[in-house]
């Protein structure tokens, strides 16, 4: 017969009370796990969208080109992309390299005119490192000069379809207005709002001509073999191509997005905290009742020579057992919800239909389970339960045995 054994029996003295308390804990913890899974999933999706469509792993610009997100100047560009390209390709650990030209433009269907981000791509190389080519849902990928790829959302907004003609209007490098007639070759559905709603993709040669770049490009995108060691690779690339160029990782280029992600985490933490406080109040209430109704029992134990610490330990075991039951149940429910989120996901397409979100993802958010976090949540549940047990028990053990025995 051990204290733990007695505690276990006492936990089931009031089965219903124990179940309700454990359930309160489990609801709190499972919602924490649910939120974590969602956040991880959303972040992972956003990261994938950025890497697979927007920047790849590393991007090279001419020095001073990159000032802030969403600005695409043409005064500082990479004038000799071939040289840079070749030097980078020689570095081990690189999976692919492709140049891009980004420029601010607007497109017109003859009636409406909408601002877009124009992008010139190397038809062959771009497919190797980006997923753009695999996201064509109607028509085909770029092939001939005069082809343009646009997103399905943009196509809807401007009533365009495969085969429609549009005019792209922009200012070239010298500030002169220039325009080009294009035929919609294909429609993209990438899941990245920027690409689906605000982008016109054309062959790089035409972009260069349109903008009078004379063979120059605005950026060179690099895909690494190993996604985890971009820091050292960035250094290597930087050393290889020299000081007139700058190299950025995809994370550096999207700092603002991960700042948003930080805010979300803070919000998630606050919600979690509230939930935990509610659960903690439940445990306090249960343990307070458990202690109060058993004060004569505490007196009896003290009369038999039990020390306060032993009695406190017995109640800690009780709180711990309830906490462990609630935590286990919470983690189980959280895991089941998480598995659902991973397998099926949550459909937000209706919610975000007409909202311009800067966060690069949409449609169905799929979860991403973090087992380490789940372990922390489990331990957290037990620790909170034990902590809130201490208060009523310490109060009860302070009573003299006579007073405890007489207590009704």
């Amino acid at each position: 017969m051990k204290l733990l054994n007695i505690a276990w029996r006492n936990v089931f003295r009031h089965t219903r009370r124990t179940i309700i308390t454990a359930a309160a804990i489990s609801v709190g913890l499972s919602s924490m796990i649910f939120m974590n899974t969602m956040m991880n999933g959303a972040d992972k999706m956003a990261s994938r969208n950025i890497i697979d469509f927007e920047t790849s792993h590393l991007e090279v610009f001419a020095r001073d080109y990159y000032r802030e997100e969403g600005v695409f100047p043409l005064d500082t560009i990479i004038e000799n992309p071939k040289y840079v390209n070749d030097r980078i390709e020689a570095i081990p650990g690189i999976k692919g390299v492709t140049p891009r030209v980004k420029f601010q433009a607007s497109i017109s269907n003859g009636i409406d005119e909408l601002p877009v981000l124009g992008m010139g791509i190397d038809i062959e190389n771009d497919r190797r490192i980006f997923e753009t080519g695999n996201s064509v849902v109607a028509g085909r990928f770029l092939k001939n000069s005069g082809d343009v790829l646009i997103g399905t959302d943009l196509a809807n907004d401007m009533s365009l379809e495969v085969g429609s003609y549009i005019t792209i209007i922009t200012k070239d490098r010298n500030g002169t207005y220039n325009a080009l007639d294009l035929e919609v070759a294909g429609l993209l559905n990438t899941g990245h709002p920027l690409f689906d709603r605000n982008m016109a993709i054309i062959p790089i040669a035409e972009a260069q001509e349109l903008l009078a770049l004379e063979g120059g490009v605005t950026e060179i995108c690099i895909r690494a073999i190993d996604e985890e060691t971009l820091g050292p690779l960035k250094e290597k690339v930087s050393d290889e191509i020299g000081a007139q160029y700058e190299v950025f990782t995809w994370k550096e280029l999207n700092a603002a997005i991960f700042e948003i992600s930080g805010f979300k985490r803070a919000g998630q933490f606050m919600i979690g905290l509230v939930v935990v406080i509610i659960a903690a109040v439940g445990i306090i209430n249960t343990m307070l009742m458990a202690v109060m109704e058993r004060i004569p029992e505490i007196g009896t134990l003290k009369a038999m020579g039990f020390s306060n610490s032993r009695i406190v330990r017995m109640f800690i075991y009780e709180g711990g057992i309830i906490g462990a039951l609630g935590s286990a149940l919470g983690c189980l429910i959280g895991m089941l919800i998480s598995i659902y989120l991973v397998q099926v996901g949550l459909d937000f397409s209706g919610l975000f239909e007409n909202v311009d979100i800067v966060y690069p993802m949409k449609f169905i958010i799929k979860g991403e389970i973090d087992y380490v976090n789940m372990l922390y949540v489990f331990l957290f549940g037990i620790i909170v339960s034990v902590m809130v047990t201490l208060w009523p028990v310490r109060k009860a053990t302070k009573l003299e045995p006579v007073d405890a025995l007489r207590h009704v």
Partner: protein, 230 residues
């Protein structure tokens, strides 16, 4: 041997000082079977609690085998309760989630006994109090008399020098009360354990060989007789 010298105990209830004991001088030898009698409010429970190191006197000395227990720390008192003193309560005070066997085992948790020895002791004492067949029963599956037998077994299992019983029969019918008293007397003779119990019940007094009568916190009579009826 238990000895009290000029023992006083005052309780403060609000602003009123209530004297529970007013100068108790007595001596109880080892192995005695003593009743402390008197009407309610006469101070019997208080005296018993002080002897049992559950309460402290306002003034005066209490010696157990020559040691002044007032001078013991609360840890020292707990140690004394752990090894020397067994308690039996009016309301039995068994732990409801534990079986008879487990309730009797509780005091032994604190003593480092071999598992086998522990088992033997528990089973032996439960058989002695006549509950050999009720070892696995929980308190709510037993009658009041049976529960009090478990409580007596629990008090005796650690082989203390004295058992203090506060109104042990007050919650029992007279037939059961008689049985419990007979049992206690039998155990007293067999184990030579000192039994001190408080009561306001004439029946209990009839059983005891010595009755100390209290009234208003003072000893008014200390009566001995050769042997109680069986």
């Amino acid at each position: 041997m238990i000895e009290t010298r000029d023992l006083y105990k005052d309780y403060r209830i609000g602003k009123v000082l209530f004297p529970a004991l007013r100068g108790i001088d007595m001596r109880i030898e080892d192995g005695e079977f003593t009743a402390i009698a008197g009407p309610s409010g006469s101070g019997k429970t208080t005296l018993l609690n002080i002897i049992g190191c559950l309460d402290v006197p306002t003034k005066g000395k209490i010696l157990i085998d020559g040691t002044n227990i007032n001078e013991l720390s609360s840890k020292g008192k707990a140690e004394l309760r752990k090894t020397q003193i067994g308690f039996v309560f009016q309301t039995f005070n068994l732990i409801p989630v534990l079986t008879a066997y487990e309730n009797v085992e509780i005091p032994l948790i604190l003593l480092n006994l071999e598992l086998q020895k522990k088992k033997e002791r528990i089973v032996a004492i439960l058989e002695e109090v006549g509950l050999g067949d009720f070892i696995g029963r929980r308190p709510n599956e037993m009658s009041g008399g049976q529960q009090q037998r478990v409580a007596i077994a629990r008090a005796l299992v650690k082989e203390p020098t004295m058992v203090l019983a506060d109104e042990p029969t007050a919650n029992l019918d007279s037939t059961t009360a008689k049985e419990i008293l007979a049992l206690m007397q039998e155990l007293n003779e067999k184990h030579e354990t000192t039994f001190i119990f408080s009561t306001h019940d004439q029946l209990v007094m009839d059983y005891s060989r010595r009755t100390i009568n209290l009234r208003d916190g003072r000893i008014v009579e200390d009566k001995r007789k050769p042997k109680g009826p069986r």
